[in-house]
């Protein structure tokens, strides 16, 4: 049977603050699903509710036929969880930690497999307290996989990893998908979201702003090309150029979002010649997820 993870109308209040606001999502099984959102958007709260760690004020979560809130024990044995910050017993070794968590499940993977998969071999007999941030992160991922989970939730798995370790992490995540597992992850890296996720949801203020494949999202919100020039060139709102849908200023760059790249470029060159301006820093590119994100949330990702 084809499972899917269905999140229906979940809501969570902290006093006057609504951290998650009637959030509804559907994640088909066997894909990597990305949750994107600025800090405080409610990503962690959403994940922790879905994992059964926090009680929502309302809503339902289903994994196939399994009602997660009704059968939290069953859900916990089938879910793998990496929390945004998780601590383990500092004085145990990596191997002892994995063995401890392994003992909690009826079905589990061999500790040695996970140590190999996450490249923890050198550190397997080191105490957890002495691990570096990235090594801890890998241990947390190994612990998340110990029960051979059907769904894996990863809250910012690449935070604190060096570029090489991030690449390795991507391979691990794609490997999980290849094994037929469903992966739900959050990230603040656009390239990561774009490269890993089959589908994405952009979240802010506890609500889903939009959801779809990375391509769909770009098509929907940024159908056009982007022309960038240095701000010092002096292209501003008073200048009207052909094909330009919208203009945005970011740091030292003026962005022209264009429906018709050629028209805009010709218009820009003509305007510069008439005004005796020098064009510097000219680039053209396709719109990215980052542009979509900015468009939808009004905030940059790592703000």
């Amino acid at each position: 049977m084809e499972n899917s993870l269905r999140i229906e109308n979940i809501t969570k209040h902290y006093g006057a603050l609504t951290a998650v606001d009637h959030l509804t999502l559907s994640v088909p099984s066997g894909i990597v699903f990305g949750l994107l959102g600025p800090n405080g958007a409610g990503k962690t709260t959403t994940l922790e509710i879905v994992e059964g760690l926090r009680h929502p004020d309302g809503g339902h979560v289903w994994w196939g036929d399994l009602d997660v809130f009704r059968n939290p024990d069953e859900a916990r044995s089938r879910f793998g969880v990496q929390l945004q910050t998780s601590a383990f017993f500092e004085l145990l070794t990596v191997k002892e930690t994995l063995e401890l968590f392994r003992s909690f499940y009826r079905r589990a993977l061999p500790v040695s497999d996970l140590i190999a998969r996450l490249d923890l071999g050198e550190k397997q007999n080191a105490r957890v307290g002495g691990l570096s941030g990235g090594q801890r992160q890998r241990l947390a991922l190994a612990v998340a996989l110990i029960n051979d989970p059907e769904v894996v939730f990863l809250d910012e798995p690449s935070a604190g990893l060096d570029p090489q370790a991030r690449r390795n992490l991507w391979e691990v995540i794609l490997g999980l998908k290849a094994e037929g597992r469903t992966v739900v992850l959050t990230t603040h890296y656009m390239d990561e979201a774009e490269c890993l996720s089959d589908r994405l949801a952009i979240v802010d203020h506890g609500q889903v702003l939009d959801e779809g494949t990375p391509k769909e999202l770009i098509q929907r919100h940024m159908p056009a090309a982007v022309v960038e020039v240095s701000r010092s060139v002096g292209v501003d709102a008073t200048v009207s150029l052909p094909g330009v849908q919208r203009m945005e200023e970011r740091d030292e760059v003026t962005m022209l979002i264009s429906e018709h790249l050629e028209d805009t470029l010709v218009g820009l060159v003509n305007w510069a010649q008439q005004q005796h301006r020098t064009i510097t820093g000219l680039t053209t590119r396709n719109a990215t997820l980052e542009d979509v994100f900015l468009e939808l949330t009004g905030r940059s990702l790592r703000e």
Partner: protein, 355 residues
């Protein structure tokens, strides 16, 4: 394997690997006992300066030196008097240089500002001299005093009094701080949340934690008792059943109190002062270091209901041999602890929150 077993094993490993923690658990009780056992010893002997003309009266000096009652220093008259005046020595015994009389007068100079040590010195010297007199002259004594203690026959020192108190105090500190600050730290750092994401039930994690603290608590109690009796020569009884009962009940009460505190406070910074607030009054008022009977009536009326008082009294009764498990006073202490356990245990289960 059962999660309680694997969790307990992991926690024990943690405890044993935390060398610093282990050191401090045992350090204070041991240091306290060593310090107090020295104080106790020096008090039971009379520090005596003997002023004797050289070559004369060596038999007298020798007799004093051999007696276990005295710690003898030979010195000249003026420095002896000075030392006594300053309170460094209890008394100075002055042996005359010549004697024509049938009775030799030994002069004892003491400092009457120090009533207690002076009384002890005078009494001891008088008794010793009359005994030596009898022994030397060969006359049989007319009377003899046969002294018999009412309860157990060992003479009790301050260390014997202190040891049960220290055991009670250790139990309180380990349980309160262990659970109180340990759990808050776990909560703060996200250790608990991580376990919550597994099928492990809260009660399993709590059982493992409690088992760990009980094993650690009993082992450190055994080490402290062993140290006190073998190295410091404390003479106490350790009736196993009764002692274990009191220790376990006390642990249960203080672990519950620790739970309540950890359940109510969000951070380490909040936990530590609350625990101090609870433990400090008991540490000084519950008769750990001195009997609480010397307090004003109104205070001792309150103090008698403290859990640490019940513990210290019960342990002291058992270890001095004054109480048996069947004694009414012992049962009162146990009942007191049981009532505390019901109240704190209920509160702990009501106030505990994972989030």
């Amino acid at each position: 394997m059962n999660a309680v077993v694997t969790l307990t094993r992991s926690l024990m490993r943690q405890t044993l690997r935390n060398r610093q923690g282990l050191f401090w658990t045992l350090f204070f009780p041991v240091v306290l006992m060593v310090v107090f056992s020295f104080l106790g010893n020096s008090q039971s002997r009379v520090n005596l300066a003997v002023v004797a003309p050289s070559g004369r009266a060596t038999a007298v000096v020798k007799a004093f030196k051999q007696s276990p009652l005295f710690h003898v220093t030979e010195m000249n008259r003026s420095s002896a008097l000075q030392e006594v005046q300053r309170g460094h020595l209890d008394a100075a015994l002055i042996v005359p240089s010549a004697h024509g009389h049938p009775t030799t007068t030994l002069t004892l100079r003491y400092n009457d500002a120090n009533t207690l040590s002076a009384q002890q010195a005078v009494g001891s010297v008088e008794a010793f001299v009359s005994q030596a007199d009898i022994a030397l002259s060969g006359r049989p004594p007319l009377f003899r005093v046969a002294a018999k203690a009412l309860s157990h026959s060992h003479s009790s020192t301050y260390l014997d009094f202190l040891l049960p108190g220290i055991l009670a105090l250790m139990t309180m500190q380990n349980s309160l701080f262990g659970i109180g600050s340990g759990l808050t730290r776990w909560k703060e750092k996200g250790v608990l949340r991580r376990f919550q994401a597994t099928p492990v039930k809260p009660v399993q994690l709590l059982s493992a934690t409690v088992i760990n603290y009980i094993v650690v608590g009993l082992a450190s109690a055994a080490i402290v008792v062993g140290f006190a009796t073998t190295i410091l020569h404390a003479s106490v009884l350790v009736p196993l059943g009764g002692t274990l009962l009191v220790l376990l009940l006390g642990m249960a009460v203080f672990l519950s109190i620790g739970f309540i505190v950890a359940g109510l406070s969000k951070s380490q910074e909040a936990t530590i002062p609350i625990i101090n607030l609870i433990s400090f009054p008991m540490m000084f008022l519950s008769g750990v270091f001195f009997p609480s009977t010397s307090f004003p009536r109104i205070l001792s009326d309150i103090v008698q209901y403290f859990p640490l008082t019940y513990m210290a009294d019960a342990l002291r009764g058992l270890m001095s041999g004054q109480l048996t498990v069947a004694a009414g006073a012992f049962r009162t202490d146990i009942l007191g602890l049981l009532i505390w356990l019901v109240v704190t245990g209920t509160l702990a289960s009501r106030t505990w929150r994972w989030e």
